[in-house]
Assembly symmetry: D2
Homo-oligomer: 388 residues x 4
C-alpha cells in the first residue's frame, strides 16, 4: 500500500499528561478527519533519554531527542508541539517560530504578560513567512462549546446580559495532598487561576465573542503549607488555591468567574452559563456531550432548557466519529484542535486561537492578580497595545 | 364540637402576593402542626375597604380594617403580620411592638439600615416584656435548607471553603415589561439586590452559620427606561436589575453571590452550593424538595453527589405533611415559619430569624451598595454596633 | 362582611391519609380558585366518635357523624367525599348517589369489576337527575400531566409509538415492615397493582387519550410473610408486591407498565414517557413541576428534551397559585380536582374522570390479574359492555 | 529505538462502523494499557480491494486481503477480529478457530441459535489447544457497568428484586428513513431485538450475575414498508422495529426489557436500573461516565441516589487514561475489551464474555421471538444443553 498523502513531521516537547493527550490526538486525527496534511509522529524531546525513549515507544513517536533545540534543526520536523510547563513556553516557541517551524503551544501561553508579548511578536514575524502558530485552548473544540459559539454568533441569545463561569476541581481539598510543581509560582506562574481559570476566561470569551474589560478579584491560599513531594517536611504553597472575580464584558454583560481546586466532589466541572435577551445556554464539562439551551422567544407554555446531546452529524466535529448518540470524551478535543490546525497550515490561513488570543487571556489573568493584590478594587484589563 | 385549644388572634396588614401566601399558611398551620397556640384569622387591614373586604372573604379573614393602626387597638388581635412593601415595615412594626403585639415582618426587614436599626431597638424593648418578633426569611424553612444547616452544624462539611449563591429570575428580560413598584427605589429600596439578593444572603448565612465580613460588588440596570404601568410613556428604572458580589465569610470561606431578574429561562432559581473540607451541599429552589450532598470522607470509588429527596419522616417539617416521597411546594415554607413562630410565642422563647438577623442582612446589602457605588472596591460589612 | 356566594355542603367519609389530603383541598379551593360553588366543610363521618371528633377539629370540619349513612340524611350535605379503603366504596357511593348526593370517590373505584359496574349504573341513574359523580384520580390534575394531555391531543407528539409507565416506591423493601391493611386482599383488593398500578394506568390513558386493549403480565410477592401490626407473630401477605405488564393501546402503541413497592431509593416515582412520530414527553412525580418535551420536528442541531417548569401563568392550574417558578406540591392536585368538580356541578356538566373511567381502569387491572394468574399470556381487556 | 515487546498479529474482517471502532481500539490499547502482548495491525480483509485499501490506509492496517480466508493462512496473523454483519460470523469464526487463530467476534454472536451452537463447539475445540475466543459485548467494559457488576457481586444491592433495562434509539422514527441492511432479516437476523436488545440482555445479565429464565414478549414493526436504499420504490421491513419483554431471573427478580428504534429524542439510551434489598443502581449510556447508586442501608435522612463520576483512579479502566473527572467516550469500551483480551491470551486464560455467553444471549433472543410469535405467552429460555 503506497501512501501519497501530503504529510507534516511533528516534534513534540514534553511527555507528561499533556504529551499523552496530544499523542493520542496525533494518532487519531488522520483516521477520523483525513486532514489535507497527515501528521508523522517524527520525534519526541525530553531531558532524560531513558524516560523519553520509553514514552516515545509507548506513545508512538519514531525517535527521541534529549534537547528540544535539536528538533528545530531537523529537516523532517516542520511542526513543534509544546507540552511542557508554562515557564518554558516562551523560549521554545520563539526559537521554533524563528527557526521556521509551525508551533502549537499548550495553554496558558506563558507565565507572564511579558513573555506572552514576546511570543506574539515572534508569531507575527513568523506569520509573514507563512509559519503558523496556535495556543492550545482545547476546550474551544468541545463540540458543545463550538456549537454554543455558533448559536451566540447567530443571535440565538440576543443581547448578552450575564456570563457565569466556574471551573471547580477538588484535588487539593485534602491538606495532606503534596506540594507538586503546580503549586510553585516559579514553575506554574499561578495556581487555580492560571491553570483552570485561564480555561474559563478563554471559553467564556470564545463563546460570547466578547472580552472582559475589567474585574474585581479575590484569591485565597487555604492551605499555605503542604508536604514536600517524596521527602520530609513541608514547603510553602506560593500560588492561589482559588480565585474569584466579577467583571464586565465589552458587550455590556456582567460576568462572574470562579476557579478552585477545593470544591469537594466536583472533579472537572468547567461550567458556563450565558443569559441573553433571547435565550440562554448552559454547559458543564463533566457532561461534555451536552449543551443546554433555553429559547426565550418560544411559547412560554412549552419553553424550557433543553438538553442538546451534541453527538449528531449536524454538530461540529461529531460527524467524523460515531453514529448519533455515541458520546465523545475529553481526549477528542485535542484531535479536533489538530484537525483545525492541519487544515489551517495546509490552507495557508491562521489557526485560532492565536498567540494574540493567548496574550489577551494573560492580560485578564494579570488584571485579576492586580485586583486581588490590591484588595479587590476595579481593575481594567490592559489592551495588548498598552502592554507592548 | 367544643374547641378548648389556646389561641392567638392575628391581624394581617397587606393582601397582595405575600398576604395570600401568609393566609394559606395561617389556614394550614393548625391542621398539620397542631401548634400550642392555634391562630384565629381575626382581621385584615388594607387601605381600600372594598378590596380588603373582598380579600378577607377570599382568604378567610373574619373582619377588615382600613387603617392598620386599628389592629393595634383591638384586644382580639395579639399578633401583627406585616405583608406590605418594605417602605412601611418600620413604622408598622415599631408601633405594633410598642403596642405589645407580637410581630411577623416580611423581608427585607426595612429599606434602610436606619429603619432596621430602629426596628431592632423596638424588638429589644418588646422582648423585655415578652413580646416576640420575627422577620420572614421563609426559605430558612425549606426542609432541604433546614436539613442543610443541620448537616453543616454537625460538621458533615468540615471546614467551609466556598459559598456559591445565586438567585436567578427572568421576569425583566423583556424590555417591554412595565415599570412596577418593585422597580422604584422609593417603594422597593433596591431592585434584585434587596428583593432576591436578601434571600440568598440570609440563606447562605443561615446554612453556613457564618456571616459575610466584606464584599466587592457590581450592579447594573440593563434597561433604564420602561413603560409606565397602565399609562402612556415610560419612566426611569431607579433600582438595580442585577447585582453581583464576591466576599469573605467570618469562617474564612470565599463567597460568590449573584441576584438577577435577567436570567432568561431561570424562573425562581435560588441556588446554593457550599464546599467544605469534608463534603459539599448543593440546592436549587426550582427543585425545592431536593438536597444534593457529597460526602468527601467516603470511599472515592463509590462517592458522588447524592440527591436526598427531603420528603421523609426523618426530615425537618416533612413528617407533618404526607407519606414519603410526596413533594411539598413553595407555600409550605410559610406554614413552617408559622409553626415555629407559634411554638416560640407559646414557649416564651425568641423566634428566629430575629429583627437583629434582618438588620445584619441589611448591613450586607448596604455594603454591597456602597461597593458598587464606589466601583467594586473591597467594602467591609458594618457591624450592628457600628451602625447604632 | 356578608358572603352571598353560592355554596355546597360537603360530607366526607374517612379521615386517614386521604381524608387529610382532601380536607386541605376543601380548605384551599375557595381562596385560590374562587369556584362558582363554595364548599362548606359540613360534616365528617368516622366510626369512632372520639377519633372523628379530633380529626374534624384538626382538619376543619364543622360536625361529626359516626355512621356515614347519617350524612345522606342531612339536608346541609349535598356532596359526599369518599376517602375510605376500596372495600367500602361501592356501598357508600351507590347509596349516596341514590340519595341524590353528588359523589367524589377516591381511587381505585372499587375492589372488583362487579362493584365498579354497579357503581357506574348508579352514576348513570343519578346523572339523569343532575347528580354528579367523579373518581379521584388526582394525578390527572398535576399541571404537568394536564399539559401533557393537551400537547398529545394537539398533535405535538404525532402518532404514538411507545408508552412507558412506572410507579416505583420502596416502603416494603425491608422484610420487617409490618402487615398493614394495604397488604391484605380483603381490604385492599390488590397490592401495588391496584394502589399505584391503577394510577399509572389512568395517567397513561389520560395523557395519551388511548386505552389499553390487552396485556401480558407478571406479578410477584417477594416477601410472603410479614410481622403482624402491633402483635406477635407473622401473617401472610395476600397481595402482589410488584406487577409488570406489557400491552398494546387502541392507537397501536406498545406499552410497558411496572408498579412496585420494592424499588429501593425510589420514594414516589410515578414516571411516564411517551414517544411519538413527532415528539416525546417524559415525567416523574418526584419532580412534579417538570415536564420534559422533545420536539422531533425541530432542527436536529438544536433539538433535545427540554425541561418545562410547569409553574407559569400559561399552564393549567398554576396561574391560580403563585408567581412564575414557585413550585407546587402533591396536595395541590386535590385542590385542582375540587376546582373542576365544583365547576362541573355548578355548570351542570359531568366531571371527569367519571365512574365509567374508573371501571375501565378496573377492567385493565382485571386483565392484568388474569394474565398473571395464567402465566403471562396475552389477555384482552374486557369492554364495559362485556362486563355488564 | 528497539522494541522488544511481545506482539500479536491481528487480522480484521470488515471495515464499516465496527471496523472503525475496533481499529481505534487496536491503535490505543498499547499506549494506554501497555498490554503483555502488543498488537500489530497486520492485515485488513474486505471484498473490494479498492475500498479495503483505502480503509487500511485510513485506519492504520499494514496490508489488505480481499478474501478473509487468506488471513487464516498468514503466519503473521494470530488473531482474527470479526467486524462483519451477523450472517457471516459463524463461518468466519469457526474457520479461524479451527485454523488456530484467536477470535474476537462482534455481537450478536450469530443470527441463529444453531450457528451460535456450532461456534461454541468450535470455541471448545480451540480452547483445548490454547486458542482463545471472545464475543464483543463492549458495554461490559463501560467503566460504570464494570463497577456496577462489582458492586452487585460484593453484595451492595442485597437480594435483587427488579431489573429494568431499555435501549432506546430514534433513527427509524421517520417513515422516510430508508431500508438499510439492518432492516432485512436475512442480513441482520432481527431488528431492534438482536441489535440493541442483545446489548441490554447481556448488560443486565453481566451486571446482575443472573440469567433470564423465561419471558413474555411483544414485538412490532411500526413502519412495514420503507424506501429502497439508493433506488426507486419501497421494500418490506422484515425485522422488528421494537421489542418489549418481561421475565424472571435465575435469582428471583422481575425483569423488564425494551428495545426500540422509535423513541424520538433518545439517541443511544441504554438504560439499566437494578433494585435490591440493600440498594439500587441506575445507568444511562447517554451519560456513560456516570453510575447512580442508592445505598439503602444508610441513614434515611441523608440517603439518596448518588452520581458516581466513574473517572477516578479507583475505577475500572479509568486510571489508565486521564486525571480525575476527565470523561471517556463510547470508543474507550473497545480499547478496554482489547486490554482484557490481550491479557487473557498472554496469561493463558479464557477471556470473557465467551462464545457460550454469546449463545446464552442468543437463547434469550430466541425465547423472545417465540413468545412474541405466539402472542406473548410465557416462554422459558432454553438451556444450551437443550439446544445441542
Amino acid at each position: 500500500m503506497t501512501d501519497e498523502r501530503a504529510t507534516v513531521g511533528v516534534g513534540m516537547v514534553g511527555h507528561a499528561f499533556m504529551g499523552r493527550a496530544h499523542s493520542q490526538a496525533w494518532r487519531s486525527v488522520g483516521p477520523f478527519f483525513d486532514p489535507p496534511l497527515h501528521p508523522v509522529m517524527t520525534a519526541l524531546a525530553g531531558r532524560s533519554a531513558e524516560r523519553a525513549g520509553a514514552a516515545a515507544r509507548e506513545l508512538g513517536w519514531a525517535s527521541v531527542e534529549t534537547d528540544w533545540k535539536e528538533l528545530l534543526r531537523r529537516d523532517d520536523v516542520q511542526l513543534i508541539d509544546i507540552c511542557t510547563p508554562g515557564d518554558s513556553h516562551a523560549e521554545i516557541a520563539v526559537a521554533a517560530l524563528d527557526a521556521g517551524k509551525h508551533v502549537l503551544c499548550e495553554k496558558p501561553l506563558a507565565n507572564s504578560v511579558e513573555e506572552a508579548t514576546a511570543m506574539v511578536a515572534a508569531a507575527e514575524r513568523a506569520r509573514a513567512r507563512g509559519v503558523r502558530s496556535m495556543v492550545g485552548f482545547n476546550y474551544r473544540r468541545v463540540p458543545a462549546l463550538t456549537l454554543a459559539r455558533g448559536m451566540v454568533a447567530a443571535g440565538r441569545l440576543g443581547t448578552l446580559r450575564h456570563v457565569r463561569a466556574q471551573y471547580l476541581q477538588d484535588w487539593l481539598t485534602d491538606p495532606r495532598s503534596p506540594l507538586v510543581w503546580r503549586l510553585e509560582k516559579d514553575r506554574a506562574g499561578s495556581g487555580a487561576l492560571g491553570d483552570i481559570g485561564a480555561h474559563i476566561i478563554d471559553a467564556a470569551q470564545f463563546v460570547t465573542g466578547q472580552s472582559l474589560t475589567g474585574v474585581c478579584a479575590l484569591t485565597e491560599t487555604f492551605v499555605p503549607e503542604r508536604p514536600l513531594v517524596g521527602g520530609d517536611g513541608t514547603g510553602p504553597v506560593t500560588v492561589d488555591d482559588a480565585a474569584l472575580f466579577i467583571g464586565r464584558t465589552s458587550g455590556g454583560a456582567l460576568a462572574s468567574f470562579e476557579a478552585t481546586r477545593f470544591a469537594a466532589g466536583r472533579k472537572n466541572a468547567l461550567r458556563l452559563e450565558i443569559n441573553g435577551s433571547a435565550g440562554s445556554l448552559s454547559f458543564d464539562l463533566e457532561s461534555l456531550n451536552e449543551l443546554w439551551f433555553h429559547d426565550h422567544t418560544e411559547d412560554p407554555a412549552t419553553a424550557g432548557f433543553r438538553r442538546i446531546l451534541v453527538t449528531e452529524p449536524e454538530h461540529p466535529y461529531a460527524g467524523a466519529w460515531w453514529p448519533p448518540g455515541h458520546i465523545l470524551g475529553y481526549e477528542h478535543t485535542f484531535t479536533h484542535q489538530l484537525a483545525d490546525l492541519l487544515a489551517a497550515i495546509a490552507g495557508g490561513t491562521d489557526p485560532s486561537p492565536s498567540f494574540a488570543d493567548g496574550l489577551q487571556v494573560q492580560l485578564v489573568l494579570e488584571a485579576v492578580e492586580r485586583s486581588a493584590a490590591g484588595g479587590g478594587g476595579w481593575t481594567p484589563v490592559r489592551t495588548p497595545e498598552g502592554s507592548a
